[in-house]
């Protein structure tokens, strides 16, 4: 094939099959796995065996797939919320706290309505979680828009405050009367998400998050509010000069992130734990920041990134026992993917500067 023809073919593939952002994401994932393989080989283990056992465990069986899907749900909920906030230029690091507040609100509502029909209880719980999560995020919104307090720090502080506040509730007013443990009573069957697959723990939260991802994708790229969100995030001053309501866009970012993170708490409570507990999340809200970045802040991309991260996390313990590779390798790979992606995004800028400096 001549050079120009192959170039044209690559160009065509880029435009129609793989948009540039998807291509660069895949490239970074592959490169991170390659570096991971070097780390495995360096300690005298077999990279092929390690990766095979990793993905065999997370994707190679019904149960593995179900566990990966379960892990995907909170990561994708939070990740999509964070991504939309990023699009508006809001650095909401508060998904973790919003998840906890959403979870406790869902559990409270579920306990209040225990015994009512499921079609009433579950939506009420989801709504309570979304409203509570959005309300918690709105604190950071008020602090930013009214008091000009940087949301980066306020959301981190609000995470700690949320977790201590939930701790107070679980040791106090909401504590299971029949137990000394810091947790709520068990939710009634009506207040639990339906199971999707016999013999696994897969719950209907997966369907919910897929719908949310599709709606968010359409919202971001096909709606007026989504356009405003992107315009404000891209250049707030320019957007304001064209008469856009910058505050409304920022509020959208804060509230959507809070609501979706709250739903992550709801799905963990109603789908997995069946009650509110103190350790509801092993840092989903923080990992989701990385997931949002890897997904290039595109809702569907975030969903795909969440599946990858979930698979890595689910398969990591099997990799450790089968191939003797410490499970933390998957954390290294997750971080490398994003650092490579950031570096790659910066490269054109770097070369442009070099060229200017050299001229």
């Amino acid at each position: 094939m001549s050079e120009s023809a192959s170039e044209a073919a690559v160009g065509l593939a880029r435009r129609w099959l793989l948009p540039r952002s998807v291509l660069s994401g895949i490239l970074c994932v592959l490169a991170a796995f390659a570096i991971g393989a070097l780390l495995i080989a360096a300690i005298g283990r077999d990279p092929v065996l390690a990766y095979l056992s990793l993905f065999e465990a997370s994707l190679g069986s019904t149960n593995g797939l179900a566990e990966t899907a379960i892990r995907t749900v909170p990561l994708a909920f939070c990740g999509i919320g964070i991504a939309l906030a990023f699009r508006a230029g809001v650095f909401n690091v508060g998904a973790e706290g919003q998840l906890f507040i959403g979870g406790v609100a869902a559990a409270w509502m579920g306990l209040q309505l225990g015994g009512q029909p499921q079609w009433l209880v579950l939506p009420a719980m989801g709504l309570a979680a979304a409203v509570a999560g959005a309300g918690w995020s709105a604190i950071a919104g008020v602090l930013k828009l009214r008091f000009r307090a940087d949301e980066l720090i306020t959301t981190i502080m609000l995470n700690y405050i949320a977790i201590y506040f939930v701790g107070y509730l679980l040791h106090g007013p909401l504590q299971d009367p029949g137990s000394p443990l810091a947790r709520t009573a068990r939710l009634a069957t009506e207040a639990r998400l339906p199971m999707l697959l016999e013999g696994t723990r897969l719950h209907a939260g997966l369907l919910l998050v897929v719908v949310v991802a599709i709606v968010a994708q359409v919202f971001l790229w096909r709606s007026v509010a989504g356009f405003r969100l992107r315009a404000v995030g891209h250049n707030a001053r320019a957007a304001e000069n064209t008469g856009m309501n910058v505050k409304a866009a920022l509020w959208t970012g804060f509230l959507i992130c809070g609501a979706l993170s709250g739903l992550a708490g709801f799905s963990e409570v109603a789908g997995v734990q069946r009650r509110m507990i103190e350790n509801l999340s092993p840092g989903f809200g923080y990992t989701a920041i990385i997931v949002a970045l890897l997904g290039q802040t595109n809702p569907l991309g975030v969903l795909a990134a969440a599946v990858l991260f979930a698979a890595l996390q689910i398969g990591s313990t099997t990799m450790e026992s089968a191939a003797g590779v410490p499970s933390a390798l998957t954390t290294v790979i997750q971080a490398l993917v994003v650092l490579l992606l950031i570096g790659q995004n910066a490269l054109p800028r770097l070369f442009r500067r070099r060229a200017v400096a050299g001229s």
Binding site: I43, L152, M157, P326, A335, I342
Partner: protein, 312 residues
């Protein structure tokens, strides 16, 4: 005045100081980076890698000071890595910092497991021992506050004074602040903003690394996965609460240290006050300070903004 000699109170005060040192050192480091205009979200990761490398060095060599030195060195190298992204590649400093922290979490846990296997018996070292000040340590309040600590604690307090001297009383501090306020103007004065920012972030990494090492080689004698547990993020809050001033940072760190110590000593509280609300206080206070100083006063003008030579 019986309660002044209460052993529980004395223990609380001593623990407050002990728990404030790691976050104090990290915040002191963060001060250098932020004054130069770089937001170092990677403090958490630098603490963790210092915590790990300090521990493993002591475990292998038996030399506590060597462990502290290695933690400082590795922290500084990690700082240079972050500076490459934040200063040279001009990436978003928040994003890079968060990814960086995840990398350090993975790397430290990976190599710890390699070195010691996944057995249940966690390896131990003998940590720094408190200096014996004799009767001085028995003085109520002041004893546990000042005279019951190990050499690393006193080194940390000396570093606060050192940080103050460098920042407020030296041309180095002046250069750092110039670069953080107005890098273009600083460059016309013959300063190199890129080099100064690299150096400032490396120093912040070194201090954060030492802060992390304090957890493993001074406070406990063990290393655990994710041992820093978000202390690097708390250091960012301390910077705000302490107005990015070394002595302000010291006071703010003591406040957060006291909140952490309180978690283990709920019995000190008058009954009826939920423990969680007291522990929340420093976090709430940080938000209040941030909200009240609405014009971000105290923050360098060019904080978080990458600098491009020759304008851009």
């Amino acid at each position: 005045m019986e309660f002044l000699a209460d052993p529980v109170l004395a223990g609380f005060i001593a623990a407050s100081v002990r728990l404030s040192i790691p976050i104090l050192l990290a915040a002191l480091g963060g001060m250098f980076a932020e004054k130069s205009g770089v937001l170092n979200i990677g403090l958490e990761g630098m603490m963790l890698i210092g915590c790990f490398t300090g521990f493993i060095t002591v475990h292998w060599s038996g030399n506590l000071w060597l462990g502290a030195g290695v933690a400082v060195l590795i922290g500084a190298i990690a700082g240079l890595g972050l500076a490459f992204y934040a200063v040279t590649l001009r990436s978003n400093q928040v994003v890079v910092g968060i990814a960086f922290n995840l990398l350090m979490l993975g790397v430290s846990a990976y190599f710890f497991r390699l070195a010691f296997g996944s057995g249940t018996a966690s390896p131990r070292i003998t940590p720094f021992a408190p200096i014996d000040f004799g009767p001085l340590g028995e003085i109520p309040i002041l004893g546990p506050l000042l005279f019951q600590h190990d050499p690393l604690t006193y080194l940390s307090l000396a570093l606060v004074v050192g940080g103050w001297l460098v920042m407020q009383r030296s041309t180095i501090g002046l250069s750092i602040k110039a670069v953080g306020e107005h890098p273009e103007a600083a460059e016309t004065l013959g300063l190199d903003p890129i080099a100064i920012r690299y150096a400032a972030v490396a120093v912040s990494g070194a201090l954060a690394g030492l802060g992390g090492a304090f957890l493993s080689i001074s406070a406990t004698g063990v290393f655990l996965d994710n041992m820093t547990a978000g202390r690097g993020y708390i250091a960012l809050a301390i910077l705000i609460l302490g107005r990015r001033h070394p002595f302000g940072v010291l006071v703010a760190a003591l406040l957060f240290g006291a909140a952490e110590a309180l978690q283990l000593r709920a019995q000190l509280l008058p009954s009826g006050v939920p423990l969680q609300f007291l522990i929340m206080l420093p976090y709430v206070l940080t938000i209040v300070v941030l909200a009240v100083s609405s014009t971000r006063s105290g923050a360098p003008a060019a904080l978080g903004q990458p600098y491009e030579k020759g304008g851009g």
